[in-house]
Every structure is written in C-alpha cells, then in structure tokens.
C-alpha cells in the first residue's frame, strides 16, 4: 500500500511534535488509543480565555497515517474556537490525507483526540 504525498510529508516533517505542561490551566490534554493497531496518541491544546486555540502539540506512537493525521489536526485547530475544532470529522482528515479504507481508524483516532482534549478543557472549567 502506498502512502499519499501528504501523508509522507507530514510523516517526514511532522508539525508541532512535543507537549505542554499538563498542569498549566490553559492546557487541555486528550489521550486516545486504537486497539485495532495499538497506536497511542496525545494531543494538547493551549486555549486562551476566549476559548480560542492558540497552539497545539502532539505525540503519537503509531504508523505513518496516525502520525500524519495528528500532525494535520495540530495545524487545523490553531486559531479555531473549541466548538469549531470539535466539528472536525475524521472524514475531513481522511479526505485531506487520501487515507485508504484500512487506515480510516487513524483519522478516527485524531478526531477523538480533539474531542478528548475539548472534554478535558470543559471539565476543568467547571
């Protein structure tokens, strides 16, 4: 199976790899895993007082498609409100990266990572 050029680009030059201090109140952390392949993904969002995502970082242990999916969403979510970010669907990711059907679960992982981070943010606001 051949990876698309976009997947290879994100895989070879992943954007925003790393992490923030998870105890910082402006940082939301989403952790998700895909049992189908054993991939693990951590997505962290830096969110300002108005609920706008200022910055994002990720760390993913998995295949090229999983790394590309998480790298892509860190680019996409920057500047978005948390509601806009939550609206990103796995189909958007899969389409942008031209993922084959067997790799759709990688895009689901990235979508769920955003949702998990947003849930973490909301639970801290209470």
């Amino acid at each position: 199976m051949a990876y698309s050029e976009k997947v290879i680009d994100h895989y070879e030059n992943p954007r925003n790899v790393g992490g923030f201090d998870k105890n910082d109140p402006s940082i939301a952390t989403g952790m998700v895993g895909a049992p189908a392949c054993g991939d693990v993904m951590k997505l962290q969002l830096k969110i300002d007082d108005n609920g706008i995502i200022e910055d994002a970082k990720f760390k993913t242990y998995g295949c090229g498609s999983a790394i590309a999916s998480s790298s892509l969403v860190t680019e996409w979510v920057k500047g978005k409100s948390i509601d806009e970010a939550s609206a990103i669907s796995n189909m958007d990711i899969a389409e942008e990266l031209a993922l084959p059907p067997v790799k759709i679960h990688c895009s689901i992982l990235a979508e769920d990572a955003i949702k998990a981070a947003v849930d973490d943010y909301k639970s801290r606001q209470k």
């Binding site: 952790m31 998700v32 895993g33 049992p35 693990v40 951590k42 760390k59």
Partner: protein, 175 residues
C-alpha cells in the same frame, strides 16, 4: 465446525497447548496438498482449502489473545472489525511512558539490559491480565463478556509493545 471443534476441543480459553500442537501435526499431515498430488483438480483444491483452515485454526488457538477474541466472536461479540478508540487516560499514560522508554533506550548505557527489564515488566502485566481474562470468559455472562472485550482491547496494546521491543532488540543486536 468452529476452530475448537476442528481440533476436537471444547470451546474454552483453557486448552492444553501440547495437545493442540500434536493434533496440528496430525491434521497438517492429513490435509497436506502433497498427499493429493496425483488426485483430481477438485481434490487438490479441497486439500488446499482444508490445509489453510487447519493453519488458521492453529494460529488462532495457540495465541491467547486471538483465542479469547474468537471465543467472544462465537458468543456474538465481534472485536475484529471495530474502529472505536479507548480513552482510559491512566492506562494510555502508562502506554505512552513505556513507548517513550523504548524510543530512548539507545541512549542508555546498557540498552539490551534496559530492553529486557521493560520486556519483563510488560510480560508480567500480560500474565496477570490473562488470569483475569480467563476468569471473565469462564463466567459466560453478557456483562463479563463486555469486560473481557475491554481487557482484550488493552491487551492488544501490551502485545504490540512486546512486538516492538522484539524488533528493537533485533535491531540493536545487529551491532
């Protein structure tokens, strides 16, 4: 006929692997395509199919993870085609930590020793999870089946980790 029946076994997580392996030798011999070299096209094709089935069943039976997954599948819980993610944060944190340790192992003074320690830690975890899995599968209730499914999902991360340790070990041993 399910994979257990093919090997003359009751459907159970607890099976005698020595017996499985000797049944496999017998079935392998009986269905080996070479035996049907002078047979008709039809007989050859059938032998190839049966032989493949025997191999599939054997691979499933000897792996605790695949065996447990198969038992659940027979009970109507299909884990093979699901695409859902898990969100158990503390479990995932531990997975992340182990993977970080693995990716930094080359920087240690004795990488192979470090790998062995990591491998021991994960195998110990797997062993204790398998005991739990057996007791859940034995209960045969809907609730226990779902708990067993959750445990299998987690075990997949642990087995993946073991496979990655093995790959790293091979890579490091080349030098």
């Amino acid at each position: 006929m399910n994979h257990f029946e093919l090997f003359n076994l009751k459907v159970s997580f607890d099976i005698d692997l020595t017996q499985v392996s000797s049944t496999y030798q017998t079935l392998q011999r009986l269905t080996h395509p070479d035996k049907f070299a002078s047979g008709s096209q039809q007989e050859k094709l059938l032998a190839i199919q049966k032989n493949a089935l025997v191999n599939d069943a054997y691979n499933m039976l000897k792996s605790p993870l695949l065996r447990a997954e198969y038992i659940l599948q027979l009970r109507g819980v299909d884990l093979q085609h699901e695409q859902q993610t898990i969100k158990d944060t503390s479990f995932l944190m531990q997975q992340m930590e182990w993977r970080e340790q693995l990716s930094e192992v080359e920087e240690q003074a004795e990488p192979l020793d470090e790998l062995e320690l990591l491998d021991d830690e994960i195998r110990k975890e797997i062993t204790s999870e398998l005991v739990e899995l057996k007791s859940l599968l034995d209960q045969q209730t809907e609730q226990a089946n779902q708990q067993a499914a959750d445990l299998i999902r987690k075990l997949k991360f642990l087995y993946k980790m073991c496979a990655e340790i093995e790959l790293k070990e091979e890579a490091l041993s080349d030098f």
